[in-house]
C-alpha cells in the first residue's frame, strides 16, 4: 500500500486517522477484487448449469491429490502470514522476517505444484484452442470447463505472484527497521490481501476439483 515512512503523513491528523483511512481503502480494494472474481464465478456457474455432465467429466481429469495438497499449503501460508502480522504488532523484527520468508516459501510451493498441474494439462492437450483434445461426447463443454479452469487459476496465480512480490518488499522494509508496534499498516494490508487470495482458492478448489464428486 501507499504509505509514508513510519510517521504520520502531513495530511493526516494523527496515527489513528491514518490507519483507519488505510484500512478502509484496503477493504474497498478487496470489494473490487470480490466483484472481479465474482464476475468469473457467475459465468462459471451459468455454464456449469448448462453443461453439468461435461463439467463433471472434465473435472474428473484434475488431480484431487495435488489440489488438496495445494489447499493445505495455502492454508498454512495464511497461518504464517497471520503470525507475521502478530510479530509486527509485537515489534519482533526477526520473527516478522522469518514468517514472511516462510509465507513466501509456501506460496512458491503452491505455484510450483500449480505449474506441475499445468504441465500435465498441456501434455494431455487440455489447453483450449486449436490443439484441444477431449475424448468422449462432451468435448465442447469440456473445452469450456478448461477455459474457466485456466482463466480462474491463472488469475489466482497472478494474484499470488503479486502477493509474493509484496512480501519481498515488506522484508526489505522490515530489515531496515521501518515497522514498529505503532506503524505496521503495510504488513496488515498485505496480510488482508494474502488472506483474500487464500479464500478465493478455498472457493476455487471445490468448484473446479470436487464438483463432480459430490
Amino acid at each position: 500500500m501507499d504509505k509514508p515512512q513510519s510517521t504520520v503523513a502531513h495530511h493526516f491528523e494523527d496515527m489513528d486517522q491514518q490507519r483507519e483511512a488505510g484500512t478502509l481503502g484496503m477493504w474497498a480494494f478487496l470489494v473490487t477484487e470480490i466483484m472481479f472474481f465474482g464476475g468469473v464465478f457467475a459465468a462459471y456457474a451459468i455454464y456449469h448449469h448448462m453443461y453439468p455432465e461435461a463439467f463433471g467429466e472434465a473435472s474428473k481429469t484434475l488431480s484431487v491429490v495435488l489440489g488438496a495438497t495445494n489447499t493445505a499449503v495455502l492454508i498454512c501460508s495464511s497461518l504464517t502470514m497471520a503470525f507475521a502480522v502478530r510479530s509486527a504488532q509485537l515489534n519482533q523484527r526477526k520473527r516478522l522476517v522469518g514468517f514472511l520468508i516462510l509465507t513466501i516459501i509456501l506460496g512458491s510451493a503452491f505455484l510450483g505444484i500449480k505449474a506441475v498441474e499445468y504441465s500435465h494439462k498441456i501434455h494431455e492437450h487440455h489447453v483450449p484452442g486449436a490443439s484441444f483434445v477431449f475424448e468422449g461426447p462432451h468435448s465442447g463443454g469440456a473445452e469450456l470447463f478448461f477455459s474457466f479452469y485456466f482463466a480462474m487459476t491463472g488469475l489466482h496465480a497472478l494474484h499470488m505472484v503479486i502477493g509474493i512480490g509484496l512480501m519481498v518488499w515488506l522484508i526489505v522494509k522490515a530489515q531496515r527497521g521501518r515497522f514498529s508496534s505503532e506503524y505496521h499498516a503495510p504488513v496488515e494490508m498485505a496480510g488482508l490481501y494474502w488472506h483474500f487470495v487464500d479464500i478465493v482458492w478455498v472457493f476455487l478448489f471445490p468448484l473446479l476439483y470436487l464438483i463432480s464428486r459430490a
Binding site: D2, H10, H11, L24, G25, G39, A42, A43, Y51
Partner: protein
C-alpha cells in the same frame, strides 16, 4: 482566514517549478491539473472522430471514408469519449481538486495512489491511442461477442488492455475518495452537512468500485477468448454471447451514472450559489443520489429487450428502469424549486446549469420511451438511442463539467475568464447541441438504425441538420479552450471567494496553498448552502 496572511505563502501552482515538481507531485490539486490536460486532449481526439463521422453522414452514400474506416471511427469515438473522457472527467479533475478542499482536508487519503492513477490513465490512454492509430478497431465501444471475439478487424486485444488499465485508474481514484470522505472530514462536518457535490462523488466512487471490476473481468475473458479461441462467448464452441452482454451492461449501465451523477453534484452547487438560496430538499437530494446509485445496478437488462432474453426478464428490468425516473424527477424538480424566490444572478456557470437541467430533463424523459418495452423494441439500436444518450452524456455530463469548470476556474487558477465570451460560448453550445441531436430523435423514430455508414436517402435532410449543428457545437467547444487559457496570461485577479459562495473551498486563497488550509477548519454551521437570504438566517 484573512487574505494578506495567506499571500506570504506560495500557492500550489508556484510551489515548485521544475518538471519533477509536476510529474512527481502528490498534491491533489496539481494532479487535478495534470488530469485536466490529459482529459482535454482525449476530448479533442474523440471530438475529431465525431467530426469525421458527421461529415460522412452528410450524404446518404459513402464518400469521405470507407465503410471499414467509418466503423473504426465510431468505435474509437465511443471508446475515447466514454472511457477516457466522460468517466474520469469530473471525478478526476474537479473531484480531485475539490474533495479534500470541500471537506476541510489537506489532501486525499492516498496521495501517491492518486498520482499512480494519473499515470495509469495515461498509460492506458496511450496504449489505446497507439492501437487506434496503428490499425484501429471496429467492434463498437460495446465490444459485443462473438463479433469482437472472432470476426472483428483490428486491434481488439490492445484496446481491451488499454481500457482494462484505465479501469485500474478509476478504481484507485474511487478508493481514494471513499477513504477520504469517510475518514478525513473536518471536525463538525457530519454527513448531512456535506455539499451535494461530495455526496455525488461518494456515490460515483461506490459505483466505480462495484462495477469496474466486473467489466474488467469481462473484457479480460474476451481477450482470452480472442487469443486462445476459448469459446466462452462464442456459440460455435458452446458459449453464450448474451452472457457477454449481461456482464458488460452490469458495469456499463452504472457507468452512465458515473458520468452523470458528478454533474448533478456540480449543478446543485451552482444553482444554490447563484440563486443565493439554500438547496430545496437537501436530504432528499442526498437520498436521491444514493438511490440512483443503488438502482443503477438493477437495470442493466433494459439494454437487452430485443436481445433474446425472456419476456419475464424484460418486464422485470423494465419495471426497475421506470423506478429510476423517481429520484431523477426529485432532483430536477428540486433544482427548479430552489430557483423559485431566489435572487438569481446570471453568471456563466448558471447558464450551463440551466442548460444542464433542460437537456437532462429531455434525456431523462426520452429514457421513459426506452424503459417502456413496446416502444423500446422499435427505438432501440436506432438514432433515438444515439440522441437519448447524447442528451444525457453531452447535454448532461459535459454541460455539468463545463458548469463546474467555470464555477471553480477562479479557485483553481486565481483568475477570472472573460464573462462575455463565456456566456456567448454557453449559448453557442446549447444551440449547437440541440441542432445536432434533436433531429436524431426523429431519425430514430423513423427507423434509421445506428452505426450505419450509408442510409436511405429520405433520412438526408435530418442528417444534414445534425451535421450543421455539430459544426456549431465543435466551434462552441473551441471557444472556452481559448478564453480559459487566455485568462492565464493575466495576473491573479480574484480573491478567495469571487462568487460569495458557501463551502470550505472558498475559505482559502485562490489558488490555494499546497496544504489547502493553514489550520484545519472546524465546521459550526448548521448545514451546507446557508446563503445570505432572510430564510437562511432564520433557519
Amino acid at each position: 482566514m484573512s487574505n494578506p496572511a495567506v499571500q506570504h505563502q506560495k500557492d500550489y501552482i508556484h510551489a515548485g517549478y521544475g518538471v519533477k515538481s509536476w510529474f512527481l507531485t502528490v498534491d491533489h490539486k496539481r494532479i487535478a491539473l495534470l488530469y485536466l490536460i490529459s482529459i482535454t486532449l482525449f476530448f479533442f481526439v474523440g471530438g475529431f472522430f465525431a467530426v469525421l463521422l458527421r461529415l460522412e453522414l452528410m450524404t446518404p452514400q459513402g464518400d469521405i471514408v470507407t465503410a471499414e474506416t467509418y466503423n473504426k471511427l465510431f468505435t474509437m469515438h465511443g471508446i475515447a469519449m466514454v472511457f477516457f473522457f466522460l468517466i474520469p472527467s469530473i471525478p478526476a479533475v474537479l473531484g480531485n481538486f475539490l474533495v479534500p478542499m470541500m471537506i476541510g482536508a489537506r489532501d486525499l487519503a492516498f496521495p501517491r495512489l492518486n498520482l499512480l492513477s494519473w499515470y495509469l490513465y495515461n498509460f492506458g490512454g496511450l496504449f489505446t491511442l497507439y492501437a487506434m492509430i496503428n490499425g484501429g478497431v471496429d467492434t463498437g465501444w460495446t465490444f459485443y461477442a462473438p463479433y469482437s471475439s472472432s470476426y472483428a478487424l483490428g486491434n481488439v486485444v490492445p484496446v481491451v488492455i488499454g481500457v482494462f488499465i484505465l479501469g485500474f485508474s478509476s478504481i484507485l481514484t474511487a478508493i481514494n475518495f471513499i477513504a477520504t470522505i469517510h475518514k478525513m472530514r473536518a471536525p463538525g462536518l457530519t454527513w448531512f452537512k456535506l455539499p451535494l457535490f461530495i455526496w455525488a462523488m461518494y456515490a460515483t466512487a461506490i459505483i466505480t468500485i462495484l462495477g469496474t471490476p466486473v467489466v474488467a473481468i469481462t473484457l479480460l475473458l474476451l481477450g482470452f477468448e480472442r487469443v486462445m479461441g476459448a469459446g466462452i462467448f462464442d456459440p460455435a464452441l458452446g458459449g453464450d454471447p448474451i452472457l457477454f452482454q449481461h456482464l458488460f451492461w452490469f458495469y456499463s449501465h452504472p457507468a452512465v451514472y458515473i458520468m452523470v451523477l458528478p454533474s448533478m453534484g456540480v449543478i446543485s452547487e451552482v444553482v444554490t450559489c447563484f440563486a443565493r438560496k439554500q438547496i430545496f430538499g437537501y436530504r432528499s437530494m442526498a437520498y436521491a443520489i444514493m438511490g440512483i446509485a443503488a438502482l443503477s445496478f438493477l437495470v442493466w437488462g433494459h439494454h437487452m429487450f430485443v436481445s433474446g432474453q425472456s419476456v419475464y426478464a424484460g418486464m422485470v428490468f423494465s419495471a426497475l428502469s421506470f423506478l429510476v425516473a423517481i429520484p431523477s424527477a426529485i432532483k430536477v424538480f428540486n433544482w427548479t424549486a430552489t430557483l423559485y424566490k431566489g435572487t438569481i444572478e446570471f453568471k456563466t456557470p448558471v447558464l450551463y446549469a440551466f442548460g444542464f437541467i433542460g437537456l437532462f430533463t429531455i434525456g431523462g424523459l426520452t429514457g421513459l420511451f426506452l424503459a417502456s418495452l413496446a416502444t423500446d423494441v422499435h427505438l432501440t439500436d436506432t438514432y433515438f438511442i444515439v440522441a437519448h444518450f447524447h442528451y444525457i452524456m453531452v447535454g448532461g455530463a459535459v454541460m455539468g463539467y463545463l458548469a463546474g469548470l467555470h464555477f471553480w476556474w477562479p479557485k483553481i487558477t486565481g483568475r477570472m475568464y472573460n464573462e462575455a465570451w463565456a456566456k456567448f460560448s454557453a449559448l453557442i453550445l446549447f444551440v449547437g447541441f440541440n441542432l445536432t441531436f434533436f433531429p436524431q430523435f426523429i431519425l430514430g423514430y423513423l427507423g434509421m438504425p445506428r452505426r450505419y455508414y450509408v442510409y436511405p436517402p429520405e433520412f438526408q435532410v435530418l442528417n444534414v441538420m445534425s451535421t450543421a449543428g455539430a459544426s456549431i457545437l465543435g466551434l462552441g467547444y473551441l471557444i472556452p479552450m481559448i478564453y480559459l487559457l487566455w485568462s492565464l496570461r493575466k495576473p491573479k485577479d480574484v480573491g478567495p471567494n469571487p462568487w460569495n459562495a458557501t463551502g470550505l473551498e472558498w475559505t482559502t486563497s485562490s489558488p490555494p496553498t499546497t496544504h489547502n488550509f493553514d489550520q484545519v477548519p472546524v465546521v459550526t454551521a448548521e448545514g451546507p448552502y446557508l446563503y445570505n437570504d432572510e430564510e437562511a438566517k432564520v433557519g
